[in-house]
């Protein structure tokens, strides 16, 4: 029982960070219909930012998100404006490859700049935890879970209730029509990619204290982000949140009951099952 509860709890906590990664991707996909294969690399950039803010200026990772978030937003906006905007109308596979290329540039650029060494960000709470009923709860993960929850709530409100948020969604559904409504679609794309990048960067910042950093770290998370987004339903924030937590829990519990080696299989099988019964994901709206 303890084992089950322990895996459930740590699954949920990790799932929170996954959710944040997934939400970023889902926004990017939602608005631009671009599958961002560089998403993990954005996360990686966020991690490096956090790492150097911590080692050079001694800024705590959880506090540094105030800096990482806007910086990553600008960075994402820049990528959108300079690269992705040019291919928005083109075939989906071209978009995939463009983001793959961008990912290669990011990870190898970082490698040239900071070597491929593993970097470890050790705070004094990195391995601190507390016990409830024999279940250990990691303090940094709990904090990051809380932050994630907050960010998600704000985003949800933003996209559903504000005009800008709705305009972002409108742009996603029909660019030309959005233009005819007086929506500046280029700006919406920049905001969307900026938001996506900033969320990925924030997720990077949030796991920095408990994880490690190296130039290729992104690929694991890119794949995870895909699974989460599709599972939840592309473009759906609630879906991505749900998907993230579900994946976290599935990994954790799957690892215990099927063996660590199989936990990814558990995740992917779960993923396929959901798609088989609900081809547009948990929260996806089907309109085909």
């Amino acid at each position: 029982m303890t084992i089950f509860l322990q895996s459930l709890i740590s699954g949920i906590l990790i799932g929170g960070v996954y959710a944040l990664i997934g939400i970023g991707l889902t926004i990017i996909f939602g608005v631009m219909r671009v599958i961002n294969f560089a998403h993990g690399d954005l996360l990686m950039v966020g991690m490096y930012g956090t790492f150097y803010l911590f080692t050079l200026f001694n800024i705590d990772p959880f506090i540094s998100i105030v800096i990482t978030m806007p910086l990553m937003f600008l960075y994402g906006g820049f990528l959108q404006k300079v690269f992705i905007n040019r291919i928005l109308g083109s075939l989906p596979q071209n978009q995939i490859l463009l983001t793959i290329g961008m990912g290669l540039i990011m990870s190898n650029g970082i490698m040239l700049a900071f070597t491929s060494d593993y970097k470890i960000l050790s705070t004094d709470y990195s391995s601190s935890s507390f016990d409830i009923l024999g279940i250990s709860i990691s303090t940094p993960l709990l904090i990051s879970f809380a932050i994630t929850a907050g960010i998600t709530a704000v985003l949800y409100w933003f996209l559903l209730k504000t005009d800008t948020g709705q305009a972002i969604r409108a742009t996603a559904q029909d660019r030309e029509a959005a233009q005819l409504m007086g929506i500046n679609v280029k700006r919406m794309s920049i905001i969307a990619f900026g938001l996506g990048a900033s969320l990925a960067g924030t997720a990077g910042a949030l796991i920095s204290p408990t994880y490690y950093i190296f130039p290729q770290v992104g690929s694991t998370f890119t794949l995870k982000a895909f699974v989460i987004t599709v599972l939840g339903g592309m473009g759906s924030i609630v879906g991505a949140t749900l998907g993230g937590i579900l994946i976290g829990v599935a990994e954790s519990i799957g690892g215990v009951y099927f063996g660590s080696g199989w936990k990814e299989v558990v995740v992917f099988v779960l993923f396929l099952l959901v798609l088989l019964f609900k081809p547009s994901g948990l929260m996806g709206k089907s309109n085909t």
Partner: protein, 234 residues
């Protein structure tokens, strides 16, 4: 109010507009008729700057719109109800309408406008929460028109608004067009329903293979032999 001067346009290698000259005065209903592929929709797209002309100029209230982006054109008061409706499929009817009044100047009047268009199209009120993409063809057409009205346009470009509407509704639509025109909205109307549109139009242009071949008052054109033969099948 709107002046198009020597507009030329091509899709890639295919030239579709040749030296188009067209004028719309404040308060008018101007209609453009022409066979399929004549370039009517393309002309409207040029005005909304969804595509950029090869040469020629378009001025609106004295301002050259050359330098404007699509969304800025809308801010100036030119709103288009596009061909093919272009509803936001995954937004509800109400959300679609709200997007219609996205521009700043229209936001204040949003609630009032929603009521106004619901009055015109009761079906939309019934289906307030239905997703745009699941509405029937004609219902989507109503939504598209309603959405266009939400922006409080000065100049409303309508591309085949009666397409797919039942006879009853076609009648209603033409009444609505005249009604909003009376309320001070200038209208540039592209229609296949040549008879009806010429009847309500102050002036009209006839487009053939990308060129303006005829222009005159709506009623005059109705009795024009060429128009009768080519468009009215008489």
């Amino acid at each position: 109010m709107l002046t198009i001067d020597k507009l030329n346009f091509s899709y890639g290698d295919l030239k579709v507009l040749w030296d188009i000259n067209l004028e719309v005065h404040e308060g008018e209903i101007v209609t453009v008729v022409g066979a399929n592929g004549a370039g009517k929709s393309t002309t409207l797209k040029n005005i909304s700057r969804l595509v950029k002309p090869t040469s020629g100029s378009i001025t609106f209230q004295g301002e050259d719109i050359e330098k404007l982006e699509s969304h800025q054109v809308v801010e100036r008061g030119i709103v288009q109800v596009p061909e093919g409706r272009k509803i936001f499929p995954e937004m509800t009817v109400l959300e679609n309408l709200r997007m219609g009044s996205y521009i700043k100047s229209a936001r204040k009047a949003r609630e009032a406008n929603v009521e106004r268009v619901f009055g015109m199209f009761p079906r939309l009120k019934e289906r307030e929460k239905q997703l745009g993409g699941t509405m029937s063809g004609g219902e989507q057409q109503m939504l598209a028109i309603a959405r266009g009205l939400m922006a409080n346009p000065k100049l409303l470009l309508m591309d085949e608004p009666s397409l797919g509407l039942s006879p009853l509704f076609v009648k209603i639509i033409f009444e609505i067009i005249q009604e909003i025109n009376r309320q001070g909205v200038t209208i540039l109307l592209v229609e296949q329903n040549v008879f009806q549109s010429l009847k309500i139009a102050h002036r009209a242009y006839v487009l053939e293979t990308g060129r303006v071949v005829l222009t005159g008052e709506g009623n005059d054109l109705l009795s024009n032999e060429h128009v009768k033969k080519a468009f009215l099948g008489m």
